[in-house]
Subunit: 155 residues, 2 copies
Protein backbone atom coordinates (compact mmCIF):
# COMPACT_ATOMS: atom_id res chain seq x y z
CA UNK A 1 0.00 0.00 0.00
CA UNK A 2 1.70 3.13 -1.17
CA UNK A 3 0.96 6.41 0.59
CA UNK A 4 -1.89 8.28 -0.99
CA UNK A 5 -2.94 5.38 -3.14
CA UNK A 6 -5.25 3.33 -0.94
CA UNK A 7 -8.12 4.05 -3.26
CA UNK A 8 -10.06 0.93 -2.46
CA UNK A 9 -10.18 1.57 1.27
CA UNK A 10 -10.83 5.26 0.74
CA UNK A 11 -13.78 4.64 -1.49
CA UNK A 12 -15.26 2.24 0.99
CA UNK A 13 -14.89 4.68 3.86
CA UNK A 14 -16.38 7.48 1.78
CA UNK A 15 -19.38 5.43 0.80
CA UNK A 16 -19.89 4.44 4.41
CA UNK A 17 -19.61 8.08 5.43
CA UNK A 18 -22.24 9.04 2.90
CA UNK A 19 -24.61 6.41 4.16
CA UNK A 20 -24.03 7.35 7.80
CA UNK A 21 -24.59 11.05 7.17
CA UNK A 22 -27.68 10.41 5.12
CA UNK A 23 -29.08 8.23 7.86
CA UNK A 24 -28.49 10.98 10.38
CA UNK A 25 -29.76 13.83 8.25
CA UNK A 26 -26.29 15.34 8.22
CA UNK A 27 -25.06 16.98 5.05
CA UNK A 28 -21.79 15.66 3.73
CA UNK A 29 -21.24 18.57 1.35
CA UNK A 30 -18.60 18.49 -1.39
CA UNK A 31 -16.13 20.46 0.72
CA UNK A 32 -16.59 18.27 3.73
CA UNK A 33 -16.33 15.23 1.55
CA UNK A 34 -13.11 16.47 0.01
CA UNK A 35 -11.55 17.06 3.42
CA UNK A 36 -12.54 13.56 4.48
CA UNK A 37 -11.12 12.24 1.23
CA UNK A 38 -7.83 14.00 1.86
CA UNK A 39 -7.59 12.55 5.34
CA UNK A 40 -8.51 9.05 4.24
CA UNK A 41 -5.94 9.13 1.46
CA UNK A 42 -3.17 10.05 3.87
CA UNK A 43 -1.37 7.30 5.77
CA UNK A 44 -0.29 9.85 8.35
CA UNK A 45 -2.11 12.49 10.33
CA UNK A 46 -2.34 15.89 8.67
CA UNK A 47 -2.29 19.33 10.22
CA UNK A 48 -5.10 21.72 9.35
CA UNK A 49 -2.83 23.74 7.10
CA UNK A 50 -1.58 20.62 5.33
CA UNK A 51 -5.20 19.81 4.64
CA UNK A 52 -5.71 23.38 3.47
CA UNK A 53 -2.89 23.12 0.94
CA UNK A 54 -4.32 19.91 -0.46
CA UNK A 55 -7.86 21.19 -0.43
CA UNK A 56 -6.83 24.23 -2.48
CA UNK A 57 -6.23 21.92 -5.44
CA UNK A 58 -9.97 21.37 -5.59
CA UNK A 59 -11.19 24.54 -3.89
CA UNK A 60 -8.73 27.32 -4.72
CA UNK A 61 -10.54 29.84 -2.53
CA UNK A 62 -10.21 27.68 0.59
CA UNK A 63 -8.99 29.43 3.73
CA UNK A 64 -8.38 28.28 7.31
CA UNK A 65 -12.02 28.52 8.41
CA UNK A 66 -13.00 26.38 5.45
CA UNK A 67 -10.89 23.56 6.79
CA UNK A 68 -11.74 24.03 10.44
CA UNK A 69 -15.44 24.06 9.71
CA UNK A 70 -15.22 20.87 7.73
CA UNK A 71 -13.16 19.29 10.48
CA UNK A 72 -15.67 20.35 13.11
CA UNK A 73 -18.42 18.63 11.18
CA UNK A 74 -16.41 15.50 10.52
CA UNK A 75 -15.33 15.27 14.17
CA UNK A 76 -18.94 15.56 15.30
CA UNK A 77 -19.93 12.79 12.93
CA UNK A 78 -17.13 10.60 14.21
CA UNK A 79 -15.60 10.42 10.74
CA UNK A 80 -12.24 11.82 11.77
CA UNK A 81 -10.23 12.00 14.97
CA UNK A 82 -8.02 14.71 16.32
CA UNK A 83 -4.63 13.71 17.69
CA UNK A 84 -4.08 16.07 20.58
CA UNK A 85 -0.38 15.47 20.95
CA UNK A 86 0.24 16.29 17.29
CA UNK A 87 -2.37 18.97 16.64
CA UNK A 88 -3.33 16.86 13.67
CA UNK A 89 -6.19 14.91 12.24
CA UNK A 90 -6.76 11.40 10.93
CA UNK A 91 -9.60 9.71 9.16
CA UNK A 92 -11.42 7.19 11.30
CA UNK A 93 -11.06 3.65 10.07
CA UNK A 94 -14.39 2.39 11.40
CA UNK A 95 -16.79 5.28 11.80
CA UNK A 96 -19.83 3.05 12.03
CA UNK A 97 -19.56 2.36 15.74
CA UNK A 98 -18.62 5.10 18.15
CA UNK A 99 -15.53 4.27 20.14
CA UNK A 100 -13.18 5.83 22.62
CA UNK A 101 -10.15 6.35 20.46
CA UNK A 102 -6.75 5.15 21.52
CA UNK A 103 -3.80 5.98 19.32
CA UNK A 104 -0.34 4.63 18.85
CA UNK A 105 1.95 7.22 17.30
CA UNK A 106 5.26 6.05 15.89
CA UNK A 107 7.92 8.72 16.25
CA UNK A 108 10.00 7.13 13.47
CA UNK A 109 7.64 6.38 10.60
CA UNK A 110 4.99 8.84 11.78
CA UNK A 111 2.23 6.35 11.35
CA UNK A 112 -0.75 6.53 13.65
CA UNK A 113 -2.73 3.46 14.44
CA UNK A 114 -5.93 3.02 16.42
CA UNK A 115 -5.48 0.60 19.28
CA UNK A 116 -9.09 0.11 20.28
CA UNK A 117 -8.41 -2.07 23.31
CA UNK A 118 -11.59 -3.02 25.09
CA UNK A 119 -9.66 -3.83 28.25
CA UNK A 120 -8.06 -0.40 28.41
CA UNK A 121 -11.47 1.10 27.82
CA UNK A 122 -12.98 -0.97 30.64
CA UNK A 123 -10.20 -0.36 33.11
CA UNK A 124 -10.25 3.37 32.53
CA UNK A 125 -14.03 3.34 32.76
CA UNK A 126 -14.04 1.70 36.15
CA UNK A 127 -11.28 3.97 37.44
CA UNK A 128 -13.43 6.93 36.43
CA UNK A 129 -16.51 5.50 38.06
CA UNK A 130 -14.53 4.84 41.21
CA UNK A 131 -13.71 8.49 41.62
CA UNK A 132 -17.04 9.82 40.46
CA UNK A 133 -15.81 11.47 37.31
CA UNK A 134 -18.33 11.72 34.44
CA UNK A 135 -16.31 11.53 31.24
CA UNK A 136 -17.29 13.33 28.07
CA UNK A 137 -14.25 12.38 26.07
CA UNK A 138 -11.23 10.22 26.64
CA UNK A 139 -7.87 10.80 25.09
CA UNK A 140 -5.37 7.97 25.06
CA UNK A 141 -2.30 8.66 22.95
CA UNK A 142 0.91 6.71 23.18
CA UNK A 143 4.05 7.91 21.43
CA UNK A 144 6.89 5.54 20.74
CA UNK A 145 8.11 3.09 18.12
CA UNK A 146 5.89 0.71 16.25
CA UNK A 147 6.81 -2.95 15.87
CA UNK A 148 8.05 -2.54 12.32
CA UNK A 149 10.33 0.38 13.15
CA UNK A 150 11.76 -1.23 16.26
CA UNK A 151 12.56 -4.42 14.33
CA UNK A 152 14.41 -2.44 11.73
CA UNK A 153 16.96 0.27 12.34
CA UNK A 154 18.74 1.69 15.32
CA UNK A 155 17.48 2.10 18.87
Amino acid sequence: MKPGSCHTECQQVLHLAERLCEGRGARLTPQRRQVLEILCASPKPLGAYDILDLLKQGVPAAKPPTVYRALEFLLQQGLVHRIESLNAYVGCIHPDHPHASQFLICRDCGEVRELESRSVERTLGSALRACGFKADSRVVEVTGRCLRCSEQGTP
Copy 2:
Protein backbone atom coordinates in the same frame (compact mmCIF):
# COMPACT_ATOMS: atom_id res chain seq x y z
CA MET B 1 -7.89 25.76 50.15
CA LYS B 2 -8.46 28.94 48.22
CA PRO B 3 -7.09 29.28 44.72
CA GLY B 4 -3.64 30.78 44.66
CA SER B 5 -3.20 30.53 48.39
CA CYS B 6 -1.96 27.01 48.95
CA HIS B 7 1.29 28.31 50.32
CA THR B 8 1.96 25.36 52.52
CA GLU B 9 1.76 22.81 49.74
CA CYS B 10 3.66 25.08 47.37
CA GLN B 11 6.53 25.52 49.74
CA GLN B 12 6.75 21.80 50.24
CA VAL B 13 6.80 21.10 46.53
CA LEU B 14 9.39 23.80 45.96
CA HIS B 15 11.67 22.44 48.65
CA LEU B 16 11.30 18.97 47.23
CA ALA B 17 12.09 20.30 43.77
CA GLU B 18 15.22 21.95 45.07
CA ARG B 19 16.39 18.76 46.70
CA LEU B 20 15.63 16.69 43.62
CA CYS B 21 17.46 19.05 41.30
CA GLU B 22 20.42 19.31 43.59
CA GLY B 23 20.62 15.53 43.78
CA ARG B 24 20.61 15.33 40.00
CA GLY B 25 23.06 18.15 39.39
CA ALA B 26 20.32 20.12 37.66
CA ARG B 27 20.17 23.85 38.16
CA LEU B 28 16.87 25.16 39.44
CA THR B 29 17.68 28.77 38.62
CA PRO B 30 15.58 31.67 39.96
CA GLN B 31 13.61 31.96 36.72
CA ARG B 32 12.88 28.25 36.57
CA ARG B 33 11.95 28.32 40.21
CA GLN B 34 9.58 31.20 39.67
CA VAL B 35 7.82 29.41 36.82
CA LEU B 36 7.44 26.34 39.00
CA GLU B 37 6.15 28.56 41.80
CA ILE B 38 3.57 30.10 39.49
CA LEU B 39 2.34 26.70 38.37
CA CYS B 40 2.23 25.31 41.89
CA ALA B 41 0.26 28.29 43.13
CA SER B 42 -2.37 27.84 40.43
CA PRO B 43 -5.22 25.42 41.04
CA LYS B 44 -5.77 25.23 37.29
CA PRO B 45 -3.50 24.59 34.34
CA LEU B 46 -1.92 27.67 32.84
CA GLY B 47 -1.06 28.42 29.23
CA ALA B 48 2.47 29.53 28.43
CA TYR B 49 1.34 33.11 27.92
CA ASP B 50 -0.59 33.11 31.19
CA ILE B 51 2.62 32.05 32.86
CA LEU B 52 4.44 34.77 30.95
CA ASP B 53 2.10 37.46 32.27
CA LEU B 54 2.56 36.29 35.83
CA LEU B 55 6.29 35.86 35.45
CA LYS B 56 6.64 39.44 34.25
CA GLN B 57 5.75 40.61 37.74
CA GLY B 58 9.07 39.23 38.91
CA VAL B 59 11.01 39.32 35.64
CA PRO B 60 9.77 42.29 33.61
CA ALA B 61 11.98 41.43 30.64
CA ALA B 62 10.50 37.95 30.27
CA LYS B 63 9.47 36.90 26.77
CA PRO B 64 7.99 33.72 25.30
CA PRO B 65 11.31 31.86 25.04
CA THR B 66 11.96 32.63 28.70
CA VAL B 67 8.86 30.69 29.64
CA TYR B 68 9.28 27.87 27.16
CA ARG B 69 12.85 27.29 28.23
CA ALA B 70 11.89 27.10 31.86
CA LEU B 71 9.03 24.76 30.98
CA GLU B 72 11.35 22.54 28.97
CA PHE B 73 13.62 22.18 31.95
CA LEU B 74 10.80 21.57 34.41
CA LEU B 75 9.20 18.99 32.12
CA GLN B 76 12.49 17.15 31.79
CA GLN B 77 12.85 17.09 35.56
CA GLY B 78 9.31 15.79 35.95
CA LEU B 79 8.33 18.83 38.00
CA VAL B 80 5.53 19.89 35.70
CA HIS B 81 3.23 18.18 33.21
CA ARG B 82 1.86 19.34 29.92
CA ILE B 83 -1.84 18.82 29.25
CA GLU B 84 -2.03 18.10 25.55
CA SER B 85 -5.73 18.69 25.16
CA LEU B 86 -5.46 22.14 26.70
CA ASN B 87 -2.03 23.28 25.52
CA ALA B 88 -1.43 24.08 29.14
CA TYR B 89 0.82 23.17 32.02
CA VAL B 90 0.38 22.05 35.61
CA GLY B 91 2.75 21.56 38.49
CA CYS B 92 3.29 17.93 39.40
CA ILE B 93 1.98 17.01 42.79
CA HIS B 94 4.46 14.23 43.49
CA PRO B 95 7.58 14.77 41.44
CA ASP B 96 9.66 12.38 43.54
CA HIS B 97 8.62 9.24 41.69
CA PRO B 98 8.29 9.20 37.91
CA HIS B 99 4.84 8.22 36.78
CA ALA B 100 2.78 7.93 33.65
CA SER B 101 0.47 10.84 34.08
CA GLN B 102 -3.28 10.45 33.78
CA PHE B 103 -5.40 13.56 34.03
CA LEU B 104 -9.01 14.29 34.81
CA ILE B 105 -10.05 17.67 33.39
CA CYS B 106 -13.31 19.17 34.62
CA ARG B 107 -14.98 21.20 31.91
CA ASP B 108 -16.99 23.14 34.51
CA CYS B 109 -14.59 24.20 37.24
CA GLY B 110 -11.52 23.78 35.06
CA GLU B 111 -9.68 21.85 37.71
CA VAL B 112 -7.21 19.20 36.63
CA ARG B 113 -6.48 16.27 38.83
CA GLU B 114 -3.96 13.46 38.48
CA LEU B 115 -5.62 10.08 38.47
CA GLU B 116 -2.57 7.87 38.81
CA SER B 117 -4.38 4.55 38.47
CA ARG B 118 -2.00 1.64 38.59
CA SER B 119 -4.56 -0.62 36.94
CA VAL B 120 -4.95 1.69 33.95
CA GLU B 121 -1.19 1.85 33.72
CA ARG B 122 -0.91 -1.93 33.80
CA THR B 123 -3.70 -2.59 31.35
CA LEU B 124 -2.35 -0.09 28.87
CA GLY B 125 1.11 -1.52 29.34
CA SER B 126 0.05 -5.02 28.49
CA ALA B 127 -1.99 -3.84 25.50
CA LEU B 128 1.13 -2.13 24.20
CA ARG B 129 3.28 -5.19 24.78
CA ALA B 130 0.71 -7.32 23.02
CA CYS B 131 1.05 -5.35 19.82
CA GLY B 132 4.78 -4.80 20.06
CA PHE B 133 4.68 -1.07 20.55
CA LYS B 134 7.56 0.44 22.52
CA ALA B 135 6.15 3.43 24.35
CA ASP B 136 8.16 6.55 25.08
CA SER B 137 5.35 8.53 26.58
CA ARG B 138 1.74 7.89 27.41
CA VAL B 139 -0.96 10.50 27.38
CA VAL B 140 -4.21 9.77 29.18
CA GLU B 141 -6.51 12.76 29.46
CA VAL B 142 -10.18 12.54 30.31
CA THR B 143 -12.43 15.55 29.97
CA GLY B 144 -15.78 15.69 31.75
CA ARG B 145 -17.27 16.74 35.05
CA CYS B 146 -15.68 16.15 38.40
CA LEU B 147 -17.67 14.71 41.29
CA ARG B 148 -18.15 18.07 42.95
CA CYS B 149 -19.45 19.77 39.83
CA SER B 150 -21.80 16.96 38.91
CA GLU B 151 -23.26 16.92 42.42
CA GLN B 152 -23.95 20.62 42.20
CA GLY B 153 -25.51 22.45 39.33
CA THR B 154 -27.20 21.52 36.09
CA PRO B 155 -26.49 18.59 33.78
